[in-house]
């Protein structure tokens, strides 16, 4: 399994990475990108199974990245978990409409992250079935 963690703040990338490892994603290759542009370039050159992206990033924001992923024929089925600072309704609805698979509000625990990921994978499984 391959996960791409996107955040401009490297501390945050490390936190997400640590949490994923804590959740047992040990057999997982976790890669990092510092903004949407970098992420998109990586997504197009390698194959990933999940994107965990911050919302608020320079150059290309998380929502812009999400839209780019959904608009790309090769990437559009890629699950995206959005990390946001606020549990803001408008934002989350906008993200849902843009095709986000899940969202998680900072700061969050490994347990919360697991719940969010489980829901994403459940839905994916349902879609596949």
């Amino acid at each position: 399994m391959k996960i791409l963690v996107v955040d401009d703040f490297s501390t945050m990338r490390r936190i997400v990475r640590n949490l994923l490892v804590e959740l047992g994603f040990t057999n997982t290759l976790i890669q990092e990108a510092e903004d949407g542009n970098a992420a998109l370039a990586m997504l197009r050159s390698q194959s990933f199974d999940l994107v965990v992206t911050d919302w608020n990033m320079p150059n290309m924001t998380g929502i812009e990245l999400l839209r780019a992923i959904r608009a790309d024929a090769a990437l559009k089925a890629l699950p995206v978990l959005m990390v946001t600072a606020e549990n803001n309704r408008d934002q989350i609805i906008a993200a849902a409409q843009s095709g986000v698979n899940g969202y998680v509000v900072k700061p969050f625990t490994a347990v919360t992250l697991k719940e969010k990921l489980d829901k994403i994978f459940e839905r994916l499984a349902a879609a596949a079935g």
């Binding site: 703040f9 945050m12 949490l19 924001t61 998380g62 699950p79 600072a85 095709g99 349902a126 879609a127």
Partner: protein, 680 residues
């Protein structure tokens, strides 16, 4: 919280957050002068926002709380609800200071105290309640505040009305709760995609919402259960992208059961940061975004590398001295190769230690701003050449002298606004801080458009303070008059102010710069302002020296102190006032016996003119061997404190040459040590 206060994570956070906060000071000051700069405002907002996010994970709740307040205030400014006046700016800058203090505490393992209520309150817009910071790691915190506070704000209401008008297709609704629960979100996904996943092939061949955005949902309050019920009723029938998911009827009861509301304008674009794109310029300004292509290296390791590269260059010098010349011998070619490689290596290593001077400059706008506000002056600090690279050690050593020069310019240079207006000058003074590279030196100038310095006043003061007699003072040319300010115990301010110190400032600046192998000069015009120009070597790792021989000793004199070299002609040495001088360029040049000081007997056929302290001296030497780039190695513990000796180096032919520290040959008053003086 499940993320333990992992030390490694904390350290990474502190380093990264510190970088953010470092540029924040400058950005805030810039913002005060250009409040309309949206990109800058976003960048400032982002810095607080990012620090808050990281601090939240580490459980540094006082930091989260403080950042959250600052963020809310900045968000209001972004929404145009307020203008960041000097009072808000003071509060933001103080918050920045406090954040730095908090990070120092966290670094030292000391528990962080909450920010004082008084400061937090100053970050609030009068009459508004605070929003809760997301410090709890449990359930997402609803944004809690009293709705009435907002309802009483006529501007806000008007703004609301405008927004409502803009989205007139939606039903106007009462106080919103801007948050969303997990269940709501899941239900929302269901409504958008059925049970399918976003981006996957839609169930029943209906196009996904991403491709055809659904009509905007109502952003207003709704309780989890009601939302759930609503979606249940829609579930299965709602094809993604075809049916609006919100119906107005559950909304009114929701308002009743969910009385929490945000004081922030609930318009989609205004409620939080996350909806606005981050301008590129803001990031560039912040720098430090290239985490994936840079490596942090402990400076001690870097210094070790510089040392090793220096040693290699010394060995290379010896080898090339030993090498057969002009024989086209394979050994000669190999040594030639080694020379080139060693040089490349040394240059590469030195570049690694370079830092843009802008890193240093970024501290200054804050200092100038606070000082100007304290003095009631209006001052704009203009910086130029921030991308000039300087050796890290030089950058650090320049910090204090530059602060002093800036304080001087603000305190003594720039006049009060009224006084400036009377002179026909703009009320706001300008202090210009510029850096540039000239050959192997960096020149930094601090220029103000203030009142300038009057040579006559300086002469009079010098006499009053007993620094010289009237005759000596009268003989000084203009430039020499300005030099007086660098004398110990001299201060041009008739009143000692807290700000520019007590007359211990400028001479300390001079000493520091000279220690760096630098020079300082002043230019001034009465009524037009002053310029202090300082020139320092690009790097301290390599010293450009003049190699001389005295008796059987080799000495290297730093080129930064060397003015010129000449050969003595018979009769040129004379006695004057009991001192031995050389008649040179129509002046009596006092001579120094470097040979005697170094314990070597020399005949002294040549003179090297050097600047030591405040004096120009001619050093008698036997032979001038030429210029060389050397790495001064420190002497052992017993010899390291010998005044005037910076270290030693190995010459190409394997001999040892002392590297002199000429500044060390003068006492604190800038007088040359008696042992050097040549008296009759």
């Amino acid at each position: 919280m499940s993320v333990e206060l992992d030390n490694e994570l904390l350290n990474v956070f502190l380093i990264e957050a510190r970088e953010l906060l470092e540029s924040l000071g400058e950005q805030l000051v810039d913002l005060e002068s250009t409040p309309g700069d949206v990109e800058l405002l976003n960048a400032v907002f982002r810095a607080f926002h990012t620090v808050k996010g990281g601090a939240g994970f580490l459980g540094l709740n006082p930091m989260v709380e403080l950042c959250h307040r600052a963020e809310d205030l900045l968000n209001e400014a972004r929404n145009g609800a307020i203008v960041l006046d000097a009072g808000f700016m003071d509060a933001l800058l103080e918050s920045l200071d406090l954040l730095n203090d908090m990070m120092r505490a966290a670094d030292g393992g000391v528990p962080i105290e909450a920010a004082p209520r008084s400061l937090l309150d100053r970050l609030l817009i009068p009459g508004r309640a605070a929003t809760a910071a997301p410090v709890a790691l449990a359930a997402p915190v609803a944004v809690a505040a009293s709705a009435p506070a907002r309802a009483h704000d006529p501007i806000e209401d008007e703004f609301e009305a405008m927004l409502d008008a803009a989205r007139s297709d939606r039903a106007p609704t009462p106080a919103p709760s801007g948050t969303i629960s997990d269940d709501e979100f899941e239900a929302l996904l269901d409504s958008l995609y059925g049970t399918a996943a976003p981006g996957s092939e839609p169930v029943g061949g209906v196009p996904p919402a991403a491709a055809a955005p659904a009509p905007a949902t109502d952003p207003n309050a709704i309780s989890d259960d009601e939302f759930e019920a609503l979606l249940d009723s829609l579930h299965g029938t709602a094809a993604p992208g075809t049916t609006p998911i919100a119906a107005p009827e559950p909304v009114a009861p929701a308002a009743a059961v969910a009385p929490t509301a945000t004081p922030v304008a609930p318009a989609p674009a205004s409620s939080t940061d996350d909806t606005s794109p981050k301008p590129k310029a803001a990031t560039e300004k912040r720098g430090a975004q290239t985490a994936d292509t840079t490596v942090r290296v402990d400076t001690h390791r870097l210094d070790g590398l510089v040392d090793a590269a220096g040693e290699l260059v010394l060995v290379r010098n010896r080898l090339s001295n030993l090498a057969p010349r002009g024989t086209n011998d394979p050994m000669e070619r190999a040594i030639g190769e080694l020379e080139r490689v060693a040089e490349d290596l040394q240059n590469a290593v030195l570049r690694m230690r370079m830092q843009p001077v802008g890193k240093l400059f970024s501290r200054f706008p804050r200092i100038v701003r606070d000082l100007a506000r304290q003095l009631g002056k209006e001052i704009e600090l203009v910086t130029e050449g921030e991308d000039t690279d300087i050796d890290r050690t030089v950058v650090e050593a320049l910090a204090d002298p530059l602060v002093h020069l800036l304080r001087n310019a603000v305190d003594h240079g720039i006049e009060m606004p009224d006084a400036r207006a009377r002179e026909g000058k703009p009320r706001a003074g300008t202090v210009r801080l510029a850096a540039g590279q000239f050959g192997d030196r960096i020149v930094i100038t601090v220029t103000d458009d203030g009142k300038g310095m009057d040579p006559e006043v300086l002469r009079r003061k010098a006499v009053e303070k007993g620094l010289m007699d009237e005759e000596q003072a009268a003989r000084l040319d203009e430039r020499e008059c300005y030099e007086i300010v660098f004398r110990p115990g001299f201060s041009t301010a008739s009143q000692v102010s807290d700000i520019s110190g007590r007359g211990v400032g400028m001479d300390v600046v001079k000493t520091k710069i000279v220690e760096l192998g630098g020079t300082l000069s002043i230019d001034s015009r009465v009524g037009h302002g002053s310029t202090v120009r300082l020139s320092v070597p690009l790097t301290l790792a390599i010293l450009r020296v003049l190699m001389v021989r005295v008796g059987d000793r080799l000495l290297s004199l730093p080129m930064s102190n060397v003015a010129e070299v000449f050969e003595l002609v018979p009769g040129q040495i004379q006695e004057l006032d009991g001192r031995i001088v050389a008649a040179h360029r129509q002046r009596a040049l006092p001579l120094a016996d470097l040979g005697r000081w170094a314990g070597a007997a020399g005949k002294g056929g040549h003179v090297v003119v050097v600047q030591i302290g405040h004096q120009t001296l001619g050093c008698l030497v036997d032979e001038v061997l030429g210029r060389e780039d050397v790495m001064a190695k420190p002497l052992g513990p017993f010899l390291k404190d010998v005044p005037g000796v910076a270290g030693a180096t190995i010459t190409g032919d394997g001999r040892i040459a002392l590297v002199l520290d000429l500044a060390g040959l003068a006492d604190d008053g800038g007088q040359v040590l008696p042992s050097l003086r040549m008296a009759v």
